[in-house]
Symmetry: C2
Subunit: 196 residues, 2 copies
């Protein structure tokens, strides 16, 4: 299973792709940041991020997109842009028939470090260890996106995806799976680790 | 000038299109609501609203899209969905090279009724009078979308669009205008007033 994790943000949106391996292991496929220039207008910033997310989805053809659940209570200054980017990621996935899962920051910290109150640095260190990386993934947004993806891979069996039901019919799912495997055959190159 | 107003919402997103007429008058082109079913998952709801907004833009080819400015402080329960739909409207416009303007609810009330503290009913009555309608536009979300569009038409000369700069270069603007007039020739039919 391939999961694309999105840590939503308007200035820096972290994106990380991991594949599951046998025995609760995971492999880094790609990680990076999609950003937008705070000096441009909000509509063009959102369009830029939407196009970037489209490219990531087309390049890596994930089975699931895992998005950090955004809460209205936090960071009033940036919450609107964050919510909007999360919405763009969900629409981009839904347009391709890819299921969307949402996980809270505490779920991610608990899954990756064992503690729902772990700090950023601790999450980065554990993600580097889990994925067998020599260096900590940077920036932090990129590490968070990888942590989201790993959290989804390691979610308890039978758990609903981040509390969201996914409403595709069996026929839609079959169609999406077939289209996905066709696109994957066309687009998927050798795994890369370049940051974008 | 044709303005498409969007009163963002996930369950009911009001959409209204008006044309300016000489002498500070305006004509209703179309008004309605794009909605999504609260029983389905958030990703599919957002996709449904995005597709609906795309249809409105393709059908009416506005010169400007006016979106209500959403504040994080209000309506914590629905603000995330509202912000996400506003983001989708902005991206849909930006993708077509259509400038986006944002206006606050008080700006809209002041422009349409003369008072920034007017009630919903008062806005509906004034919009009906301004557009020469026999009945009040309903639901309220649809009336708000028309009020947004009229507010944009009547904004003070030289005012920045809702405080946002629009960052298209002159060449991009010329290209967008040319493409728009081509699309308009292809798609634009007789003005309709059906609610969707």
């Amino acid at each position: 299973m391939r999961v694309l994790g999105v840590d939503p943000g308007l200035t820096r949106c972290g994106v990380g792709v991991v594949d599951s391996l046998p025995g609760r292991r995971a492999r880094l496929v790609d990680v990076g940041v999609v950003g937008s220039d705070p000096a441009t207008s909000i509509d063009l910033r959102l369009l830029h991020v939407a196009s970037g997310l489209d490219e990531w989805l087309d390049r890596h053809v994930p089975d699931v997109v895992a998005v950090e659940r955004v809460f209205a209570q936090h960071n009033l200054g940036t919450v609107m842009g964050t919510a909007q980017v999360a919405g763009l990621a969900m629409v981009a996935a839904a347009r391709r028939g890819i299921p969307v899962a949402m996980h809270t920051p505490s779920e991610v910290k608990a899954a990756v470090t064992g503690s729902g109150r772990a700090g950023k640095e601790q999450v980065q260190r554990m993600i580097a260890r889990i994925l067998g990386l020599d260096d900590l993934p940077r920036p932090a947004d990129a590490a968070d996106a990888l942590a989201l993806a790993v959290t989804h891979l390691w979610r308890p069996a039978g758990a609903l995806q981040g509390g969201e039901r996914h409403e595709l019919t069996p026929a839609q799912r079959a169609w999406a799976a077939a289209e996905q495997s066709a696109r994957r055959g066309k687009h998927r190159g050798a795994p890369s680790r370049t940051s974008r």
